[in-house]
């Protein structure tokens, strides 16, 4: 059984994002990392493999630099690496990226897919449910744990009342929240093995996908709106002042 994991390389959460000429300046990003929720998706896929067998196929769609992240995934145990190489990710819309990822998952024969609930760059949350819809699969979102059970899988998902254990059968997509488990770290042997691992690099055309035109055109990127500087007070005596400002200036209490 092939277990698909969708991984996206994003600027590290600590990296500064600069804007120049109306576009985010990617060349100034100091460090690229696997998107945080994707780390939990990968961890959970590896756990599923350990308990019920299968091959973990790590798939990314992105520019050349994203290959390194696949090697990092191999270092903790991903078996097969597939890189759909494209440039200019910010100019493709949700339908385009989803059709590429679905074609990659089909090529790898994945009926069970793990992904992040939201990527740290787009902050979208569109891909998991979208990919599921296109695959004719069920999607469980905000998942923190998945295990195999009779006839399918049990996933723990957040709900308005707390949490729920839900059952689904393949094909299915699990969009991951922060998981309950500690993330594993690569050991030296894993890192050495990963360096030798071949990354299958393909283009959307190789997968038989014609990307078409994006229906969403980015006009510009800009720095976030500046907040006026705040007021700072010393000592607990100032609490009364702040409370009256919250009532009279800000009108929030």
């Amino acid at each position: 059984m092939a277990i698909g994991v969708l991984l996206k390389q994003v600027p590290d959460t600590t990296a500064k994002i600069g804007v120049s000429g109306g576009r985010v300046d990617e060349s100034a990003v100091s460090k690229w990392s696997m998107s945080p929720y994707d780390e939990y998706a990968l961890e959970s896929a590896l756990k599923l493999k350990e308990s019920s067998g299968g091959d973990v196929v790590a798939i990314t769609c992105g520019p050349a630099r994203a290959g390194k992240m696949l090697t990092d995934a191999a270092a903790v145990g991903a078996d097969t690496l597939m890189h759909v190489q494209i440039d200019g990710q910010d100019s493709i819309d949700s339908t385009q990226i989803q059709s590429v990822l679905v074609a990659a998952l089909e090529k790898a024969g994945c009926e069970v897919v793990f992904c992040g609930k939201q990527a740290a760059d787009t902050n979208g949350g569109s891909t998991g449910p979208g990919v599921a819809m296109l695959m004719g699969a069920s999607c469980v979102s905000h998942v923190s744990e998945v295990s195999a059970d009779a006839g399918g899988y049990t996933a723990l998902r957040a709900s308005s009342g707390g949490a729920e254990r839900v059952h689904v059968s393949a094909p299915c997509v699990f969009a991951f929240d922060k998981g309950l488990e500690e993330l594993r770290r690569p050991n030296v042997r894993g890192i050495m093995m990963a360096k030798k691992k071949v990354i299958e690099t393909v283009s959307p055309e190789d997968l038989g996908v014609s990307m078409g035109e994006s229906r969403v055109t980015v006009i510009s990127h800009s720095p976030p709106p500046e907040k006026p500087p705040g007021q700072k007070f010393e000592g607990a005596d100032s609490v009364a002042t702040v409370v009256s400002k919250l009532r009279d200036e800000a009108n929030v209490i």
Partner: protein, 306 residues
């Protein structure tokens, strides 16, 4: 332009975002139909001004939450070229499923919307903004509190449609929340504690204040990771929840960039921290340099006077 608004609701009725979705639709001259999944809040939706029609979509599938099934059931009624939903966990899920079903783009978490469809939204966890233009039909989710709500006073007709979809998911077990406290994503005021609270039992002070002002209690990741008693559902930030309340009070939280990513766009931010150089003061409208041991009792006293 015909706009379909998918109402955002909990078991108790509509959330305030629904009127904001209608307000945003009205601001671009939309002719608005509101869909109420499972029929929740239909009467309430009809009383929002500038709604032309309310469709209560009722079907068995609405008994259990499954984004794909809900989107499939709503599809035939979502006749507008523009479909708006809330950027809540469910709203995003339904919006993405509906967009994929129709093979049209989805744009999440918009904070600005103009006719001709120009959409702006934060990206990279609020470290930059993106403004884009959409050509053709699309689904857009809107961030809570970013748009003015349409006022009350509507008298729209309500029609009821029976429409269900195949479910592929079954709930085996519901696990109740550790406490009956308000969730941070639903609250208009949030008071959060960090590692500076020292002990998880000290969160009782935050609970007490929260009860006085109808707030939810949140936490930093360090607090959630250090103390078992503080559940992940309380975590605010990059890998926790993104919140935009009217008031966010951060107590004993340093203000790491990943925490800021989840709360920086709150309307007003108060920080209580003993370290005058804590980065949280960089985003605070009102900063109080003090220990919580000193500041929280004073805060209780002042709030009791209101």
């Amino acid at each position: 332009m015909d706009v379909t608004v998918i109402a955002d609701s909990t078991a108790d009725g509509l959330t305030p975002v629904t009127a904001q979705l209608v307000g945003a639709a009205a601001s671009i001259g939309g002719n608005t139909t509101v869909l109420c999944p499972g029929g929740v809040g239909a009467a309430e939706a009809a009383s929002i001004s500038s709604v032309s029609k309310v469709v209560s979509v009722e079907g068995d599938c609405f008994g259990t939450y499954e984004g794909g099934a809900w989107a499939t059931a709503l599809d035939s009624q979502a006749t507008g070229d523009l479909v708006l939903a809330a950027a809540s966990p469910r709203g995003r899920d339904i919006a993405s499923s509906l967009a994929a079903l129709r093979k049209i783009p989805v744009i999440q978490d918009a904070t600005g919307l103009e006719a001709g469809l120009v959409v702006s939204r934060p990206i990279y966890s609020g470290k930059a903004m993106e403004t884009s233009n959409v050509d053709g039909p699309c689904v857009i989710t809107l961030r809570a509190n970013a748009f003015d709500a349409a006022p009350d006073g509507g008298t729209a007709d309500i029609s009821t449609v029976n429409q269900t979809a195949d479910m592929s998911l079954a709930v085996k077990e519901a696990i109740a929340k550790a406490s009956e406290r308000l969730d941070v994503t639903e609250a208009d005021i949030i008071i959060s504690g960090g590692r500076g609270m020292g002990e998880p039992s000290n969160f009782s002070h935050l609970n007490e204040i929260a009860d006085m002002i109808g707030a939810a209690v949140g936490a930093s990741r360090a607090a959630v990771d250090t103390w078992e008693e503080i559940p992940h559902s309380m975590q605010v930030g990059q890998t926790g929840k993104t919140v935009t309340p009217s008031l966010y009070i951060a107590v004993g939280i340093s203000g790491a960039i990943q925490h800021l990513a989840g709360m920086k766009t709150s309307k007003y931010i108060v920080a209580i921290n003993k370290d005058p150089d804590a980065p949280i003061f960089g985003v605070a409208d009102y900063g109080i340099v003090a220990t919580w041991e000193d500041a929280l009792p004073a805060l209780k006293t002042e709030l009791a006077k209101l």
